[in-house]
């Protein structure tokens, strides 16, 4: 009844190419943005902002990057946590080694450096496919982990593993309260999401999807595999790099390679798959699910503290996490985004489904 596009005619080319052709979608998005920008900072407590919303936004950004690569271009990567690490270390080194480096420029630089690294590790994708590629990207993960933990130059010659990030200053304003950090993250995430949304419906995005669906056919149609695949790796790692820089500077306020281990790569892949492959919305839903799930399980587990030894609780958490992942894959293998899609289809006919 409410969600129906009848009567909305596309009378201009601009209308036809609009990002959200349906009015209700535009309104819905506006409401979400207003909530994110105005309501949330007023309502949410500091705990909510620092330990739920900021990680959610950062991981949504990283998942978005991985979704570009895996969901749109069809290349599996198990090295994305490593790329986030590259971003974090690059931003740290840019911010501390270059005097008076503007913060946003060092984030941008971090993204660009990660892009180069990502393209380097994306080169084998031209020859290697499927799970062989997935294992080959593990090489990226391990080499990056090794480089940051054993080459002293990256950590500024200090012996400590954890590097405290310098204070964040943008145009003379110091960003340190939870709300300021939230706005910084939100701004960057919204900007990059807008970019991604437009990218995937452009010529580049269509080339990616053709490459994903059948690369030989795409090549026969005149899509260059080299540029297309490398571009996917480049953009995907740019997102990962910026997300990594944000994770280090905004969330942890320190840079430490143990935050970017293989397990994190798996979680990113879970976000993409549970959210929905090849869906921008899915990246956000998946990130919300994977960020919130351990916290929920943990909170549920604390109810039993005292009756069950803590050791056992940690193991039960692992089991519940693994079990829920499997359960979710069985129930909805195409992810949360598909769930939303079906809901939309139902809403169109509601309340007269026949």
């Amino acid at each position: 009844m409410v969600y129906r596009e009848s009567g909305q005619f596309k009378t201009t080319y601009a209308n036809d190419m609009a990002m959200f052709p349906i009015t209700q979608d535009r309104w819905g998005l506006t409401v979400i943005i207003v909530i994110a920008v105005v309501v949330v900072p007023v309502v949410a407590s500091n705990y909510w902002i620092t330990s739920l919303l900021i990680p959610f936004l950062i991981f949504a950004l990283a998942a978005l990057g991985l979704n570009v690569l895996t969901g749109y271009a069809g290349q599996l990567s198990l090295g994305h946590a490593g790329f986030m690490g590259v971003g974090a270390y690059a931003a740290y080194n840019l911010a501390t080694r270059i005097p008076d480096m503007p913060l946003l420029l060092s984030f941008l630089g971090a993204g660009l450096i990660t892009t180069v690294v990502g393209m380097l590790f994306g080169l084998p994708s031209l020859r290697i496919k499927g799970f062989y590629l997935a294992v080959a990207t593990l090489a990226a993960q391990f080499i990056i982990e090794w480089a940051f933990s054993s080459i002293g130059w990256f950590s500024g010659g200090t012996a400590t593993m954890t590097l405290d990030t310098p204070p964040m200053i943008i145009f003379g304003y110091r960003i340190h309260t939870p709300r300021q950090r939230y706005y910084l993250t939100l701004g960057i995430v919204m900007l990059l999401t807008l970019l991604a949304k437009n990218l995937v419906r452009s010529q580049v995005g269509r080339a990616w999807m053709a490459m994903r669906d059948m690369d030989v056919a795409a090549e026969a149609m005149g899509i260059r595999p080299l540029t297309t695949k490398l571009l996917a790796f480049a953009i995907s790692s740019f997102y990962a790099g910026v997300a990594g820089a944000l994770y280090g500077f905004v969330f942890l306020t320190s840079v430490d390679i143990t935050a970017f281990e293989l397990e994190r790569s798996f979680r990113l892949l879970f976000m993409v798959i549970i959210g929905g492959l090849g869906s921008i919305l899915g990246s956000f839903l998946g990130a919300a699910f994977i960020v919130l799930l351990p916290i929920l399980i943990n909170n549920a587990a604390t109810l039993f503290v005292g009756t069950v030894p803590t050791n056992l609780i940690a193991n039960i958490e692992l089991m519940v996490f693994g079990g829920l992942i499997i359960f979710f894959l069985i129930v909805e293998p195409y992810g949360l985004a598909r769930l939303w899609h079906t809901t939309k289809e139902k809403l169109r006919l509601w309340p007269f489904p026949h």
Binding site: A136, F142, W146, I151, L312, L318
Partner: protein, 299 residues
């Protein structure tokens, strides 16, 4: 450069590579018969070894404990087939892959939740000392334990190859790996076949767990040897049983040689990623591993 020392490192590396190959074998078995990339193999190694050790610690007779662990692994395989694989039939392989990562988390939790997360010492009764005859003959030090492990791995590979190529079930398994639907249509029971493969992979995991467990102690880090087995796997090819052994030999030897001769130039710790780098370089020239089936693509 000392030749005897070089040989020692080479042989030691190759033998430890055979141990990696044992873990890789479990992957190959499952990939060969269902196309599923089973990331939970490492967790299965941990689970089986922990079960076995804890049964032994309850003062159960060795062979009885072994039999009980085998039964547990077979039941586990059937449960996985029923609860995880069957509902996911006909889904894209990446979904199945992610499901096995979920399974990996689950099994790690289960193994340590049911048993515990202490380090358990475990003795197989094989000396981890230099093999005397070889030492007297050539002066090269090679651990007896490594030799026995290599022997066991070799037997397992030979047995599995024969099983796959000579028996009825083996033929059925190969048929399933070629094409699920075609295999179903000629009357091969898919569920049944999958249970058998997972059980076989579970048994291989137990063997690997026993050998690795007696070397490192039975503990959580056993499940991390998955990561050592993966380069072996892509070097040899995902669906080749002899490939796993050859890959293991190459990875083991090159890893040890790199650690001894290269690490001082780059600052140590390259053991962790060197196999991956090597495998990646190999893959650029042979994208399906040394012995893997080449996939012919048609439009």
């Amino acid at each position: 450069m000392n030749v005897a020392f070089f040989l020692e490192v080479l042989i030691g590396g190759m033998l430890s590579g055979v141990m990696y190959a044992l873990v890789a074998l479990g992957f190959v078995l499952i990939f060969k018969s269902s196309g599923v990339f089973n990331f939970a193999q490492g967790a299965m190694v941990l689970f089986s070894a922990l079960t076995f050790v804890r049964l032994l610690e309850m003062h159960i007779y060795f062979w009885l404990a072994l039999a009980l662990t085998l039964i547990v692994m077979i039941v586990l395989a059937m449960a996985i087939e029923r609860l995880v694989l069957r509902p996911l039939i006909n889904q894209p392989l990446i979904i199945l892959f992610m499901a096995t990562i979920g399974l990996n988390f689950f099994l790690e939790g289960l193994a340590q939740g049911v048993w515990d997360n202490q380090v358990h010492g475990f003795e197989l009764g094989i000396n981890d000392e230099p093999f005397e005859a070889l030492r007297q003959l050539t002066g090269i030090l090679v651990s007896t334990f490594d030799l026995v492990a290599a022997l066991i791995a070799g037997t397992l590979v030979l047995g599995l190859s024969l099983f796959f190529h000579k028996t009825r079930i083996g033929r059925a398994l190969r048929a399933v790996s070629d094409d699920h639907q075609a295999a179903l249509s000629v009357g091969i029971p898919l569920h049944h076949i999958w249970s058998i493969t997972w059980a076989a992979a579970g048994i291989v995991a137990l063997v690997a767990g026993m050998l690795w467990g007696s070397r490192l102690g039975v503990q959580f880090s056993l499940s991390l040897i998955t990561l050592k087995a993966l380069p072996v796997l892509i070097l040899g090819g995902f669906n080749s049983i002899p490939g796993a052994i050859v890959g293991g030999l190459i990875v083991g030897a090159s890893e040890k040689l790199a650690e001894v001769y290269l690490s001082r130039f780059v600052g140590g710790g390259i053991e962790n990623f060197f196999p991956y780098l090597l495998a990646m370089v190999f893959l650029i020239f042979r994208p399906y591993g040394l012995f893997g089936d080449e996939i012919i693509e048609r439009v």
